[in-house]
């Protein structure tokens, strides 16, 4: 029996140690917000926090987490930066298909926790591992800046007049 702290709740699990955290979350705990994209830590869709650090749940065996505190997209609103990131995502209408966005939000929240006002270079480094197949990168960048109180050139509504 493994005991895991997920979004502040202790959860009891009867699974093998090598089961990746991603599948524990999705299939055992029915937390479907964390997404499967590649299974090999190449796309970032499965990003969660363990003790505030962004990790790829698809390659993280559950048996190695120990007393690390897991936070998923379902629990990120409990984090001040997480809440700000969610709000900025909504305000700037970032999303197209939305599938990668849980991972993007988790990575962006961790970035703001470590660096409250990231510049473009810091955003590039932090976000490079998170693929967005719809390529909403321009708005993700703007939303991270907006959530960190930096000025944003919001062009969403420009260019649609005659």
């Amino acid at each position: 029996m493994i005991t895991l702290s997920v979004n502040g709740q202790p959860r009891q699990l009867k699974v093998p140690d090598e089961m990746p955290l991603l599948w524990v979350l999705r299939d055992e705990l029915d937390l479907k917000g964390t997404k499967f994209g590649c299974g090999v830590a190449q796309c970032g869709a499965c990003t969660v926090h363990i003790d505030g650090e962004p990790v790829r749940a698809c390659i993280t065996p559950v048996g190695g987490i120990g007393d690390g505190k897991v936070v998923t997209i379902e629990g990120i609103a409990g984090n001040r930066q997480g809440r700000a990131i969610q709000e900025a995502w909504l305000e700037l209408d970032v999303i197209q298909c939305g599938y990668c966005q849980a991972g993007q939000i988790m990575t962006a929240t961790a970035l703001l926790t470590q660096n409250p006002t990231p510049d473009d270079a810091a955003i590039d480094v932090a976000m490079e591992g998170n693929l967005c197949r719809c390529a909403t990168y321009k708005r993700i960048r703007a939303a991270i800046k907006s959530a960190s109180g930096q000025p944003v050139d919001d062009t969403r509504n420009r260019g649609t007049e005659a």
Binding site: K35, G37, D93, I123, D124, E128, C134, K138, R156, T160
Partner: protein, 728 residues
């Protein structure tokens, strides 16, 4: 073909007392007997407290139709957006007409019908008020969910709904729609309806479906297309942790169920882990000669000869012989994978009395037919629930994963969720077909294009050009040159192919618009001036369909606008930086784009900024979503320039994202988007911004470093080698 639509309404009362409008939508051509094929459905429901539920009829794949189509209804219905709730329609083409995400067609096809849906509901509510007050319609106005009589008497829609539902509906085509200058919603940004659910991680995607007693499945197929299963020892996998069953299924259809081995387990990971315990023996001989190297050599030989003539105008050979400047070049493009972020998946419950399916799909009703065929059952007992799709890009026009899930669930006797690993998705894509091209052109003494000849090598299946490919697209040069010939040769393939975002155009724009840049430079002309000189408003042969066809004056307008916005005329030719331009017309949309790139001597290239100007008609429905589509399409196009899928002995060599370079945050350029509003009806935006960015970048690379890029993908190594060669 001109299509007219006639709408028929019926109405009824919802169990909850609200309004239910049923629309049967029948489309018929003017030539055909207009016998309506009509069925009934609901688009509008109003609760007694004024909450309005609108139906989104088409699949949502990130293109924003779940929000934009209900906006059209809400505009004419005259309700506050804050009071609108949106529900995805049932998959039922008899009730809703065509339901698909493809061809950037939703706006083009639904702009008027959805407004009519809203106007008809509003008419019924007014009629209910008119009957109460024994007054005529013209005594009433509506605003924000209320009907108001000129004497000041006001009714909430909610209190009229039950009465309105019992009335005979109007002919929606005879209703007066709003003057666009009075629009309150159309043309004003409404944020994506599902966005709050997405940022909270709510389970709204196909892969998130969960049913009581549900099992999980993987389906192992041969990576060689068309291979058959000879044998497989299932015992070790059957004994694995969490595994409930392992069984073989016989393939029936390359677009549906293929030969394979299903592993059914209590968690997806148990099923996936047991996969390593299977060592199937396949007959893979069918793939032996299907190899990228062989294809490439065959194509080279074919391009030395003549092809089969597809279309011709005038005498291209003679015009080429008498031309002042002549050009002759070979281009090629690779196969590409779709790789939407959400891997293919489907959840199925198969019982004798009916089949229920939950899937992310771009063509739900085709999926129904496929399942019926696969299971040999009546399609009428198949229900498909459309789920939000984690991207589509054309991959989910195919429903092969649905056929697999249904067949597995039938045999397993339990609800089953099938999820493909990413490696399954890459191996079993319906790829954008590669192609090889020889293009020749002549420019006369006046600097005008005199002749243009295109010879393509296209892949075929059983002699027919494969799905997702065509010989001739909408190339500008082929449209405007007085003497043209389009010919093609064939290479037979076993590789499954399909439609990738802006299909056909995403390859042909690169070939013909890069070549166009070569021609302009070779003839000593500015690439924009060269195009403008040919975009003659008198060419109207191509102005044939209701959305405008190829209209040179529309392309001219977007090209002139992008010239201004990008500062084209005053562009600096700084060391290692350059700007390139391209145009393309696809999916009824006109786009002209300018790219600015930086190239370094080591072959690294980076797109710094793209200016995209488009004409998609007289109205942008949802500005923020529209710009998001253009930004995304531009970046998708640039990202695709680094990717390729190659084949060895009939199987894809690449397996996952580590082999398929895609655009990521550090490569994302600035994108400046501008729409030019024309007098034509509104059309779609999922695709048309993509094709021109690829040649615009290729042409910018030429401007930056003098290397003419004629083949994709563009790797750093190739570019470095070309830069070195150009120097020596």
């Amino acid at each position: 073909m001109e299509t007219t639509r006639r709408l028929f309404l019926k109405s009824g009362v919802l169990a909850g007392g609200g309004l239910l409008l049923g629309f049967g939508l029948s489309a018929c051509t003017e030539k055909d007997d207009p016998g309506p094929v009509t069925a009934v459905t609901d688009y509008v429901a109003i609760s007694s407290d004024g909450i309005v539920t609108l139906i989104a009829k088409n699949p949502e794949i990130g293109q924003g139709v779940m929000t934009s189509l209900p906006m059209l209804i809400a505009e004419e219905l005259d309700v506050l957006w804050a009071n609108v709730r949106i529900e995805t329609a049932a998959s039922d083409d008899k009730r809703f007409g065509a339901q698909f995400a493809g061809g950037s067609m939703a706006t083009a096809l639904e702009y008027m019908p959805m407004r009519q849906v809203g106007a008809a509901a509003r008419w019924l509510l007014i009629e209910a008020a008119a009957r109460r007050m024994k007054a005529t319609h013209d005594a009433f106005t509506t605003k924000a969910g209320k009907v108001r009589h000129k004497d000041g008497t006001t009714f909430d829609y909610g209190e009229l709904a039950a009465e309105a539902a019992l009335l005979a509906p109007p002919d929606p085509t005879k209703l007066t729609l709003k003057d666009p200058k009075n629009f309150l919603l159309i043309g004003k940004t409404q944020k994506g309806y599902d966005n709050p659910k997405i940022v909270r991680g709510e389970p709204i995607f196909g892969i998130d479906v969960s049913l009581p007693g549900m099992l999980y499945a993987v389906y192992l197929k041969s990576p060689v297309y068309g291979a058959r299963l000879i044998s497989c020892d299932l015992s070790a996998a059957k004994a694995a942790n969490g595994v409930k069953d392992v069984f073989v299924l016989k393939g029936t259809d390359m677009h549906g169920l293929k030969d394979g081995i299903a592993i059914v387990a209590t968690s997806w990971w148990y099923a996936q882990a047991a996969r390593a315990l299977l060592s199937p023996v396949w007959d893979e001989a069918v793939g032996k000669l299907h190899d990228s190297e062989i294809y490439s050599q065959t194509a080279k030989t074919l391009l030395l000869g003549e092809g089969e003539v597809k279309e011709k105008r005038g005498n291209a050979d003679a015009a080429l012989r008498s031309a002042t400047h002549t050009f002759d070049a070979e281009y090629n493009v690779p196969f590409l994978a779709h790789v939407p972020m959400e891997p293919q998946n489907c959840t199925a419950v198969v019982k004798a009395e009916g089949v229920e399916i939950w899937a992310p799909t771009q063509q739900p009703n085709d999926g129904k037919a496929l399942i019926a065929k696969t299971l040999s059952i009546d399609p009428a007992i198949v229900t498909v629930h459309m789920r939000r799709c984690g991207g589509g890009f054309g991959r989910r026009l195919e429903n092969d994963y649905m056929a697999e899930a249904a067949a597995i669930a039938q045999k397993a006797g339990a609800p089953v969720k099938l999820v493909w690993a990413r490696e399954d998705d890459v191996a079993h894509d319906f790829f954008r077909p590669g192609g090889y091209y020889r293009v020749r052109a002549g420019v006369d003494a006046s600097g005008k294009l005199a002749a243009y000849i295109s010879h393509s090598v296209n892949f075929t299946r059983e002699g027919k050009i494969v799905q997702g490919d065509e010989v001739a697209g909408n190339a500008f040069a082929l449209t405007v040159a007085p003497h043209t010939r389009i010919e093609f040769s064939k290479i037979e393939t076993t590789i499954p192919t399909g439609y990738l975002r802006a299909p056909v155009s995403n390859a042909l724009a690169f070939v013909h618009e890069t070549f166009c840049d070569e021609i302009a430079h070779g003839a000593g002309q500015d690439p924009i001036a060269f195009r403008l000189a040919h975009l003659n408003a008198h060419i109207d042969d191509y102005n044939g369909d209701r959305f405008g066809g190829y209209n040179p004056s529309r392309m001219r307008a977007v090209l002139k606008t992008v010239e201004e916005r990008s500062g084209w005329r005053s562009r600096a030719s700084g060391k290692g930086e350059g700007m390139g331009v391209a145009t393309y017309f696809s999916h009824h949309g006109y786009f002209a784009e300018v790219a600015k790139v930086r190239v370094t001597d080591d072959g690294k290239w980076r797109v710094l900024k793209v200016w995209a100007v488009g004409d998609v008609g007289n109205q942008i429905v949802n500005p923020s979503a529209a710009k998001n589509q253009v930004e995304g399409a531009v970046m998708d196009g640039i990202g695709s320039m680094s990717a390729e899928i190659t084949f060895s002995k009939g199987r894809a060599v690449q397996t996952n994202f580590q082999d398929i370079p895609m655009m990521r945050m550090p490569q994302a350029p600035e994108v400046d988007v501008q729409f030019v509003l024309s007098e034509f009806p509104p059309t779609g935006l999922g695709e048309p911004a993509l094709p021109p960015v690829i040649p615009a970048v290729a042409n910018a690379i030429f401007a930056a470093c003098g290397v003419r890029l004629r083949q994709l993908p563009l790797t750093e190594q190739d570019l470095r080698a070309a830069i070195d060669t150009a120097r020596t």
